[in-house]
Symmetry: D2
Subunit: 86 residues, 4 copies
């Protein structure tokens, strides 16, 4: 087949390889566009006066349920008290 | 306004905050979906017998133009020769 | 000089190159040893019943001064209140 | 014991907690010093005219044995040929 490239004992289907790579590249591009969109929303939030570090913390916290979060905070408060941090 | 929350001297527009966070969360979700799609294509490539490590290297290389890539390889070959690596 | 390797127009001092690489490799090794030591302390802490996630948070917090930390927490509390998170 | 802090049902040995945290912080500091040393060697290499990107690649390659590296390169060359990259 014209599409097969052989090097020593190895053969590779060039068309299939190219198709896979182009699919990945298109997906990587879409992913980059979304990453840029996320950056834009943070920039907009910052421009409106929001604290983006706190926004990121909130988004991380919202991935946990309330009980899990409260338990984590209880342990943290206990350790902070033990260390005299206020 | 019913929408504003004040804590000491700070006031925050709750509706605007919630809208920003939900936009970011939706985008993060879309990004995750695309990351999963990329993983699926690599898994498919692996299943067909392709070497995914080499695929990743190829994709990284294709982001550079040929001249840039050839110059990098020339330097690398020079260093490898100097170190007796073959 | 016996130590110089030339490839096209480029020349490289092989001995100097080797010395630099070996210095970096030694440092990388020392760094790895310390990373392993840190993992061991966390494992020991976990074995004694401490919550390692909370330990990591505490260590991150201790890098900030109290005023900075309290300001960050105030903003976070404000946002959490605005979003009805408790 | 004066050293124990209790919060609800939880008790923590404050002295032990503090000792663990201080050990980790000392190790993190040592690790940071070494990271800075590594950066310094790269800066020195760059100042002498070496290509630091190629140095990093060489160091990564030296972690593999020659056979492993040559096999990886053979696959890469095969894929590059299939894609018409030179």
């Amino acid at each position: 087949m014209a599409d097969e490239i052989t090097d020593n004992s190895q053969t590779v289907a060039a068309g299939q390889l190219r198709a896979l790579i182009e699919r990945i590249e298109r997906l990587e591009e879409e992913k980059q566009t979304i990453s840029d969109d996320i950056k834009d929303v943070y920039a907009e939030a910052k421009g409106t006066g929001f604290d983006t570090k706190a926004l990121r913390t909130i988004i991380r916290m919202r991935k946990k349920d309330a009980a899990e979060r409260q338990e984590e905070e209880a342990i943290l408060d206990l350790y902070m008290a033990a260390l005299g941090m206020e």
